[in-house]
Amino acid sequence: MAIKQISVFVENKPGRLAEITELLAKNNIDIRALSIADTTDFGILRLIVNDPESTVQILKNDGMTVSATEVLGVAIPDVPGGFAKAIRTITDKGISLEYAYAFITPKSGSAYVIIRVENNELATEALNDAGIKIIEQGDIF
């Protein structure tokens, strides 16, 4: 149902992001989506990858602070108002949204949005009722 997202604590220093992504590349990890939010000191890198379990292991073995959580992936028709509708559906249910980031894949005409909400089950139900498609790990690789 949900998609596994990896969060990595990254210090703000030159080349650090390159090092981390190179490490993943060396291990044949395919990154489908990512988001990075930062302050002046540190950032949190969030990744959607083809093999979340191995990714966690690879990063942990390298000594990094990592966590894995389940997030929702939503397929949104690539038309004006598509995203707004999805968000409205969730917020109307009183579910708060922590963060979201979008990506596209070559496969379909939809845009994909990863959303992190406080309650995955409730949000899934609401989106299903509204006829908005929830994607799974298999849909994006």
Partner: protein, 434 residues
């Protein structure tokens, strides 16, 4: 309880008179028997008869650990080997070991000192005491050993190591008191919990801890694990070993054995005496030692001393637990900062690692302090607010303890490790060119 009540409760005036008499004796004795001191005292123009009051001690040059090393092994001994009956040495982890020698009188004085502090801590002749310090060149084990025998306690000289066997003896003997480093006492409790015996099989009621610092948090942890009453004692091999000072049951400072050791608190940079209650470096002069007397020995330990009488009835000077070492003290915007203060503030947060680093910079005319800690708990990464909350709460705690503003940075695990896996605790960039 007292071991030598008359001395321990002596009024301040009589104590000062006794100290002055003994100080004069020590200066004269050093001058006549230790060539190193003959030269030093001549250079400073100090002789015993020039010392009219205890304040005059400030004219005597200080002695340092380097002086002991330069005179390795026996250069500062004031007695020939036929009068020396015991030799101890420091571990020498920071260089050549420092070697000390004791005459028969010294050993007797030393065991009196220890007898006083263990009785002040609540030990009695009925106690069965296990000594879990390592025996050997280290003064800790034998120091406590003879002092405890002197009060009539039953001493179990178990030494350190083979923890399971030590625990077996503790259960089978009904051992009531434990001599150890705080960290070993904690380690023993962890092993004890893994064994198939309930903690109620152990009768330990009193802990006589020393030879390393102990934060209040750690002390509480040890007391809870064993159900004991923990006390601290202080000393160093150069001065005698354990027995220089120790806590009484009131636990409001460590009572100094002032008739044998004269304490001063000085500014570690200028060596000027500081007012009562101010924190500074502890400097100690031995007052009766024959084997290796020391004049104004710089302990490098930072503490405070008060002369207020204690509820326990003792009138002796009381020193605080050691706050830090003058060697690694940092002066930031005029405030003394010790890495140990930061360590004890950070300990206990499971979200961060054991390593930390202090970076001191000069920006314009102001010093800035940045404290770097490693974030190890991934579970808080889900929410930005949680990470920032952690950062703010650590920063707030540090600022409260240190009394100065600082910046707290979260860094990746292992990023603070340096050569041979040992973290470089302090990075002082104030005198570097930008």
């Amino acid at each position: 309880m007292f071991f030598q009540k008359e001395i321990e409760t002596m009024n301040r005036k009589d104590m000062a008179a006794l100290q002055l008499e003994r100080l004069k004796w020590t200066v004269d004795y050093c001058y006549k028997n230790v060539p190193f001191y003959t030269k030093r005292l001549d250079e400073a123009g100090v002789t015993a008869d020039k010392i009219k009051s205890l304040e005059d001690i400030k004219y005597i040059p200080v002695t340092t650990k380097a002086d002991l090393r330069d005179n390795y092994p026996f250069g500062l001994f004031a007695k020939p080997m036929k009068d020396i009956v015991r030799i101890h040495a420091s571990s020498g982890t920071t260089g050549k070991p420092t070697v000390v020698g004791y005459t028969k009188n010294d050993l007797n004085m030393w065991s009196d000192c220890v007898a006083r502090i263990v009785m002040a801590a609540g030990a009695t002749a009925d106690d069965i005491v296990q000594i879990s310090f390592g025996y050997g060149m280290f003064t800790g084990a034998l120091g406590l050993h003879y002092g405890l025998e002197k009060i009539g306690a039953s001493v179990v000289p178990n030494s350190s190591g083979n923890t399971e066997k030590a625990l077996m003896f503790m259960r089978d003997f009904g051992t009531t008191a434990l001599v150890a480093t705080p960290s070993y006492a904690l380690y023993m409790s962890e092993i004890a919990k893994e064994l198939d015996y309930p903690m109620s099989d152990y009768k330990i009621r009193l802990g006589l801890f020393g030879s390393e610092g102990c934060t209040p948090e750690m002390r509480t942890q040890i007391e809870k694990a064993w159900g004991l009453f923990a006390t601290d004692n202080y000393g160093m091999s150069e001065l005698v070993g354990p027995g220089v000072s120790g806590e009484c049951e009131e636990r409001c400072g460590l009572h100094f054995n002032e008739d044998y050791f004269y304490p001063e608190i000085v500014d570690s940079e200028t060596l000027e005496p500081l007012a009562e209650g101010e924190a500074g470096e502890l400097v100690v002069t031995t007052l009766c030692k024959e084997g290796i007397p020391l004049l104004r020995y710089r302990t490098r330990d930072i503490t405070r001393i008060t002369y207020e009488p204690c509820k326990c009835g003792r009138t002796s000077a009381r020193m605080d637990k050691v706050i830090g070492r003058s060697d690694d003290m940092l002066k930031i915007r005029g405030v003394n900062v010790f890495p140990s203060q930061i360590e004890s503030t950070l300990i206990g947060s499971e979200k961060i690692g054991a390593n930390y680093q202090l970076v001191v910079r000069r920006e314009g005319f102001a010093d800035t302090l940045e404290v770097k800690v490693e974030l190890v708990d991934g579970s808080i990464l889900e929410s930005y607010q949680d990470v920032e909350r952690l950062q703010n709460s650590l920063k707030h705690k540090l600022q409260t303890v240190l009394g100065i503003q600082c910046k707290l940075s979260l860094v990746e695990p292992k990023s603070l490790q340096r050569f041979s896996g040992k973290a470089q605790r302090v990075l002082d960039l104030r005198n570097e060119n930008k």
